[in-house]
């Protein structure tokens, strides 16, 4: 029931927000309140989940289409509960940011954000292939309008490329869903067995690769992340991309063990390429959002390396890194938005010297940057280290790539920090541009505090994600199988 509540509550809130003819501020406040209550619901769910036992919990199953074996089946594993937790926290921050900047057409905007929240949580909770597909698709509906209506100047081009890429992937997935479900006689992820059909696996894999995005399916990323409203970009990179990771971990690998194994070499190589290529692009990017966008792509490559390490350490690290990257990338996007609002531009050439007279901004950007570049001791460092150690068995070269990625992350993040804070004051930085305000701090500091907490205790996530008979080697993925 709790899982259902987590899915239905934001969607119901979306309807209320859309229908009630309230003034803009009240609507935004109501939406923010709903998002906070969603976080509260998640906390209740997390306290009820028995991390020691692990496996599928908080699950509900109801028949939906009996004749085809489709059911409304939801529940959480340790790792998906953490992913959903990241999602609701990031959504609360994003909706809070939208309230702070006062997005126009408030009712529509906030209704769509809440609808997106529900769709994302449903994706992470889905234990039925069709439900997964439906929620995965449903995310696109609000995103399309959010980017297309409230985005920047080239928003229309951004939505078109985004939709073409995503739908091409999704529809391949639909074909795979049909083929898998019909062959298995059920769409339930709990009851269905495995398949060794490479083509069906590819349908899923490409859909996830587009959503993440993984190299070379990232063509939609630069435009979408640059043109989307900044909090929508935060949600895209922090949360929506992680649905791909859930897809790989819940469907791609457990349902297609042999094809996944056969193609893991290719996927690892592409992920490595994405990690390096994305990092280099981030380093070369001329604007704030470009840096965060491409670094996000690099991080998704890194996380995929962890997933396809087929190893305890690798997947544990992948989940820890997903949570940490979700939080830090959302924080960074929101910070970028705050800087852009002050300077009217995100071009690095025109920024600089903002540290002077703005101590809070400088501190927060520096703290965020440090976590982003995975300074030893941070949660991101723990995640990267686990992935590096986990992927070693697949070939030492991959570990070298990860290490290189860490170095490159330091390069692009330091470049970003100094471009904002240090050097000479840029043309766009006016003296009267304010330091961070209390409202803004209230959005970013909680995210950073969670990250600091995870830095102190990364095992909270990494050791509970696949607990309950931990993932033992490739053949295992034991927690993903139904509890007998």
């Amino acid at each position: 029931m709790l899982t259902t509540a987590l899915i239905v509550f934001p969607i119901a809130a979306a309807l209320v927000v859309a229908v009630l003819p309230l003034p803009r501020e009240t609507t935004a406040g109501l939406a923010f309140l709903a998002a906070l209550m969603e976080v509260g619901l998640w906390i209740v769910a997390a306290t009820q989940y028995d991390f020691d036992e692990g496996g599928l919990q908080l699950d509900t199953t109801r028949e939906w289409v009996e004749s085809l074996g489709i059911s409304y089946s939801v529940g959480f594993y340790g790792f998906s509960l953490w992913l959903a937790g990241t999602a609701v926290v990031v959504f609360a921050a994003a909706i809070g940011y939208a309230m702070w900047v006062g997005r126009d057409r408030s009712r529509a905007y906030h209704a769509l954000m809440l609808l997106l929240t529900g769709a994302v949580v449903a994706t992470f909770a889905a234990q039925d292939l069709l439900l997964f597909y439906a929620s995965f698709e449903l995310m696109l509906v609000p995103l399309y309008v959010l980017v297309g209506v409230w985005g920047g100047e080239r928003r229309q081009a951004a939505t078109v490329t985004f939709v073409i890429y995503t739908m091409a992937g999704s529809l391949l997935m639909l074909a795979s869903v049909v083929a898998f479900g019909v062959t298995q006689g059920t769409f339930s992820l709990i009851e269905s067995g495995t398949s060794d059909n490479v083509w069906i696996f590819l349908g899923f894999a490409i859909a996830f690769a587009v959503k993440a995005p993984l190299f070379p399916f990232h063509g939609w990323l630069p435009l979408a992340y640059r043109e989307a409203p900044v909090e929508v970009a935060a949600v895209l990179s922090a949360v929506v991309s992680k649905t791909a990771i859930y897809g790989f971990l819940r469907i791609g690998i457990p349902k297609f063990p042999d094809p996944a194994d056969d193609l893991s070499g290719l996927i690892l190589v592409l992920a490595s390429a994405g990690l390096i290529y994305g990092s280099v692009l981030a380093f070369r990017s001329p604007d704030l959002r470009g840096v965060i966008a491409y670094s996000s792509m690099a991080q998704m490559g890194l996380i995929t390396l962890g997933v396809f390490a087929f190893d305890d350490l690798g997947v544990d690290g992948a989940i820890l890194q997903s949570v940490a990257h979700g939080l830090i990338s959302a924080s960074m996007f929101l910070l970028v938005g705050m800087v852009e609002r002050r300077c009217g531009t995100g071009e690095l050439d025109e920024l600089g010297g903002m540290a002077r007279g703005r101590p809070t901004l400088a501190t927060i950007v520096l703290l965020g940057g440090m976590i982003d570049l995975a300074v030893p001791g941070s949660a991101t460092f723990a995640g990267e280290f686990l992935i590096m150690a986990g992927v070693y068995d697949q070939g030492w070269g991959y570990s070298v790539v990860v290490a290189l990625g860490v170095v490159l992350a330091a390069m692009y993040t330091l470049r970003l920090i100094s471009a904002i804070l240090h050097e000479k004051p840029g043309r766009a930085v006016r003296d009267e541009a304010l330091d961070l305000r209390v409202g803004e701090l209230g959005l970013v500091i909680p995210l950073l505090l969670i990250l600091v907490g995870l830095s102190v205790w990364p095992a909270l996530v990494s050791e509970s994600s696949f607990s309950g008979g931990n993932v033992s080697g490739w053949t295992g993925y034991a927690p993903l199988e139904p509890p007998s």
Binding site: E63, W64, V65, E66, S67, L68, I70, R105, L130, Y133, A134, S135, E137, L138, L140, V141, Y144, V145, G148, V149, R155, Q156, T159, V163, I164, M167, A168, L171, L172, L174, A175, V177, V178, A179, G181, V182
Partner: protein, 497 residues
């Protein structure tokens, strides 16, 4: 019919017993049509109210009777000397037709027509009566009779706005092309009769054909004749012009009701009369499906006029439904019946929104004239958004299950290539469906070049009820799937799979 008459019978006229309940939906609609027509005798100000009320009462009663008939016809029967079937397939189709008709009457209420109200509603009810008769046809004579019955009404309905040239043009085109289609069907029927000496579907299936060539030619021609009615490519060429030229409420009726009737009959004829030729017609239908998917979607991409775009989109939906028929399985039939429900709702709803926009702007609705409509008319905007997403097969609408069931049936039947074409077609279709959403929300009303007719748009509560009902069915069929499928399964039990 020599074979049927008892030899040496003394009675000259053999009166078959009439099952009035089985005939009740068409009769209710005919009665409504009669009342609506008589309202032409009333003073002018009463005509519209009386005739529309009569029509909607007819549709509601017919729907109720169809539902009752569905419950009462668990075992299929053949009536009237093997000419009509009383079964759950026909009853379910009649129920869909009845609800569609009622929604169309509501959507027509605000039509600014100076004259011909009584005729309009009477023809609408008569056409529906013809379709209700058509779906229960069980031999080649009643098949043709039903087809002509509703087609003749539609020819007039299309041209009923006789002061508009486009309406007349569309009527003429539909008459010529539709007449050709009917002739092909009739010729095909004659060939089949020639080959088998049988008229009723069941007897054709069990007959020993004297000539395979005649039988196959006849089958092909019957299929082609029905393909005209469902507007499957390459027999679709009338569709864009007729959909565009007709009064929008008539287009709504044609796109939903004609398709429902013709598809149900196509399924019935192929499955009951030609089971032995299945290896041929499944391929033929699959090819028609593929052509419709390709042509409909590519054509729709190029359209600026919304009615034309929806016409091409209806061709592509015909492709999806043909895919279900080509599976030649119970699952395929269920998929078809399920698909028809959200599709009819989305189609009627979308045309109703177009009709309302048309009345507001007093001009044909193109993409440009949707600019900013989503913000200015939020409820119509959300409704059109829902219909577009539903037609594209997005979740939270029945469209996604329609596609899923059709694809599953085709995959089950081994037509994985058809599934792939369907998937690609769906991807292409996003181009135009989402384009509508783009115009609704991402363009501003300031770009609208046309002057709005002036003042606030005319209040049209009846139309809004029709749109709300369409949204309810579109979204409801996503959540309530199993009951619909159960009904479809019952309906399929009337066919010999």
């Amino acid at each position: 019919m020599d074979g049927v008459r008892p030899s040496g019978a003394a009675i000259v006229i053999d009166t078959p017993s009439v099952d009035w309940l089985a005939l009740s939906p068409p009769i209710a609609l005919l009665a409504a049509a009669g009342v609506a027509l008589l309202s032409a005798l009333l003073p002018e100000w009463m005509r519209k109210g009386v005739s529309a009320t009569a029509a909607i009462a007819g549709f509601v009663v017919a729907t109720g009777l169809a539902v009752y008939l569905f419950d009462e016809s668990a075992t299929p029967e053949v009536l009237l000397d093997g000419s009509m079937a009383r079964d759950q397939l026909a009853a379910m189709a009649q129920a869909i037709l009845g609800v569609t008709g009622a929604a169309v009457v509501l959507a027509s209420w605000g039509e600014r027509r100076r004259t011909n109200h009584a005729e309009y509603y009477a023809l609408l009810a008569t056409a529906s009566a013809g379709m209700a008769f058509f779906v229960s046809a069980d031999n080649l004579m009643t098949l043709f009779l039903g087809l002509e019955w509703f087609s003749l009404c539609l020819y007039v309905l299309v041209a009923i706005d006789s002061e508009r040239e486009t309406s007349l043009e569309a009527g003429l085109k539909y008459l010529v092309v539709g007449g050709f289609g009917s002739a092909v069907l009739l010729f095909g029927s004659a060939l089949v009769y020639g080959a088998t000496s049988e008229l009723s579907f069941g007897a054709i299936a069990s007959a020993d054909p004297s000539s395979d060539a005649f039988l196959f030619a006849g089958l092909a021609m019957i299929l082609a004749g029905l393909a005209f009615k469902v507007s499957a490519a390459p027999f679709h060429m009338w569709t864009p012009d007729v959909y565009q030229g007709s009064p929008t409420s008539v287009t709504a009726f044609m796109s939903a009701a004609t398709k429902t009737a013709a598809f149900v009959v196509m399924l019935r004829v192929l499955v009951t009369a030609f089971p032995d030729q299945a290896d041929v017609w499944t391929v033929a239908v699959a090819v028609l499906s593929a052509i419709s998917l390709v042509w409909g979607n590519l054509g729709a991409l190029a359209q600026r006029d919304l009615k034309r775009m929806l016409a091409y989109s209806s061709i592509s939906h015909a492709g999806f439904m043909l895919m279900a028929i080509s599976a030649n399985s119970e699952r395929g039939g269920e998929a078809l019946l399920y698909y028809l429900i959200p599709y009819s709702a989305m189609s009627v709803g979308a045309f109703a929104v177009v009709a309302s926009r048309e009345r507001e702007l007093q001009a044909p609705v193109t993409l440009d004239s949707l600019a900013g409509m989503g913000w200015e008319r939020p409820y119509h905007g959300i409704a059109l958004w829902t219909f577009m997403l539903g037609m594209a097969g997005f979740p939270l609408t029945g469209g996604i299950f329609g596609k899923l069931f059709v694809f599953s049936a085709a995959y089950d039947a081994g037509d994985w290539w058809l599934v792939l074409i369907g998937v690609v077609a769906t991807a292409v279709s996003l181009g135009y469906y989402l384009n509508v959403v783009r115009w609704l929300y991402m363009r501003s009303g300031a770009e609208l070049r046309l002057a709005v007719a002036g003042g606030s748009p005319p209040r049209d509560p009846a139309l809004n009820v029709a749109i709300a009902a369409s949204v309810a069915v579109t979204v409801g069929s996503f959540f309530v799937v199993q009951p619909i499928l159960d009904a479809a399964t019952d309906a399929m039990s009337s066919l010999p799979f």
